[in-house]
Symmetry: C2
Subunit: 110 residues, 2 copies
DNA sequence: AAATATACATAAGACTATTATGTATCGGCC
DNA sequence: GGCCGATACATAATAGTCTTATGTATATTT
């Protein structure tokens, strides 16, 4: 059920970018929940993976963060850096192409 | 163009199994060529990745090998171990599901 | 004769995810 | 009132896979 784990490698970066692009702004915990609910509990992002990924993407300048206190708990919201939107689109497009190629190799019609 | 590289991680195992299942028996170099031609020169498997993968899969008992001398060059042919066909099908199915979930996250219709 | 394609193999290094651990607040339950 | 689960962040040690580089060897093309 959660054997998807081993496939995640390399795609997590782009998954995060795609979710942020769609949802405007999100925080780490929320991204994990979204991925989980959108994939029937199949893609389960762990904290040890998501937070380093967010830090990495911010360091690279693709996303920006801002802290907010909500209900007493601190949330760190991330959103796409507008000046990097082309690069983000490019990365999403590449992953999209890759899934297509994968499906061709697996003989999946669509 | 070959930025698919970073997405490959974790999926190579299953790609190899899928190709072997479709083509009966193949050798390492042939697998690389097949992946390349079937994906418009996008998925380029390197020798440093393919050979360790084949050795790993054989060690796990999912595939079996036999050496043949063809035109003066030695080829090591691999094929699915018939007694592991269920496990192979299962792994291919999991990757297939994963690509579906990925496409859902990327908002790709198909 | 030299370069390219074929065909295998392995080692060093980089990168990413898993697992484990730590901190802290909030809400529900008994 | 105290405990547990959910929320929310973070980091370190470890494992695993891929890239890059290197090596060997034969056949074909230029």
């Amino acid at each position: 059920m959660d054997s998807n784990k081993k496939f995640l490698n390399g795609t997590l970066n782009t998954i995060v970018l795609a979710l942020l692009k769609d949802n405007g702004k999100m925080y780490g915990y929320e991204i994990c929940q979204k991925a989980k609910t959108k994939t029937d509990n199949s893609i389960l992002l762990t904290e040890g993976a998501i937070y380093p990924t967010l830090h990495r993407l911010e360091k690279e300048g693709l996303i920006i963060s801002s802290k907010e206190k909500v209900n007493g708990r601190t949330r760190k919201y991330y959103s796409i850096n507008v000046s990097s939107i082309q690069e983000v689109n490019s990365q999403i497009h590449l992953l999209s192409q890759f899934t297509g190629h994968l499906r061709a190799l697996l003989n999946l019609s669509t």
